[in-house]
């Protein structure tokens, strides 16, 4: 609980962060940069868990624990995605999205 700061303000912050991540996911031209956007999205979600836990159910631990899980999953996801990207780079010498449009009509 931050003195003088309501839950609405914090949720607004996380929403803005989320949609900045979405915007990045839409526009970036590079796989790693897209992954950065995904990190933003995940982080905003984790903050939401914690904030709602803290402001509405202070005695409980659910949001806290699940934030930890989200961080763990994010770490796993990042490691895997980067492994895939590196492998891909080895195959086609590029991580640009325009080179990865083979699965179309």
């Amino acid at each position: 609980m931050i003195n003088g700061v309501s839950i609405y303000e914090i949720l607004t912050l996380t929403s803005i962060m989320f949609f900045i991540g979405v915007y990045g996911f839409f526009t970036r031209k590079n796989l790693i940069a897209m992954l950065v956007s995904v990190e933003l999205i995940l982080n905003s979600a984790a903050v939401n868990f914690v904030i709602i836990n803290k402001y509405m159910f202070p005695g409980k631990l659910g949001g806290d624990i699940f934030s930890i899980f989200i961080i763990a999953v994010a770490a796993a996801e990042t490691a895997l995605a980067l492994a895939i990207i590196i492998n891909l780079y080895r195959l086609i010498m590029s991580v640009k999205t325009k080179d990865l449009e083979t699965m179309k009509y």
């Binding site: 949609f19 990045g24 970036r28 940069a33 402001y55 806290d64 999953v73 770490a75 490691a79 990207i85």
Partner: protein, 166 residues
């Protein structure tokens, strides 16, 4: 005082996040992401979730960011800017995002959140007991599932990235 500090942090997070998704230099983009993550961890500290803030710092700032930097150094020439994005695409993506944001905020502000005031501080031992507890507030099952997920991800990452033997 805390309020001012929060607004400062919030503005920093938004600005850095925006720069992280628009900067055409990959390495800078990653560093901006690092700043965003540090900002988020400071929010955790402000609401006195110290353990979570520490985890955020170590795992994200310490681990994931280093991973990013490593892979960028493996596959991109540092300093080569990414290609420009078409304006039409930027506008369309921006409209969709702003629209979605508006909807979300509209939903948030029209919902009456019942906040509770309390001075509880979550300690590390509480979190540890909850993680390994199997009682009413225990999370041992998700904990184990996450462990297996991490193991699988580790094995998978190794398998995917390793060079095939001839």
């Amino acid at each position: 005082m805390e309020r001012v500090f929060f607004y400062f942090i919030a503005v920093a997070i938004i600005v850095f996040a925006f720069m992280a998704v628009t900067n055409r230099n990959m390495m800078r983009s990653i560093i901006y992401l690092l700043f965003v993550l540090i900002g988020v961890s400071s929010i955790y500290f402000m609401i006195e979730y110290n353990f979570l803030g520490a985890v955020q710092l170590t795992v994200y700032a310490g681990g994931i960011i280093i991973l990013y930097i490593n892979s960028i150094m493996l596959i991109e020439k540092i300093g080569t800017p990414m290609e420009k994005v078409k304006t039409v695409r930027k506008v369309v993506a921006g409209i969709i995002s702003v629209f979605g944001l508006a909807l979300t905020l509209f939903a948030i502000y029209s919902y009456p959140f019942q906040t509770v005031k309390s001075g509880n501080v979550t300690t590390v031992s509480q979190i540890g007991q909850a993680l390994l507890g199997y009682g009413n507030n225990g999370y041992v099952l998700p904990f184990e599932v996450i462990s297996i997920l991490l193991l699988a991800a580790m094995v998978g990452a190794i398998m995917i990235a390793k060079t095939e033997k001839k």
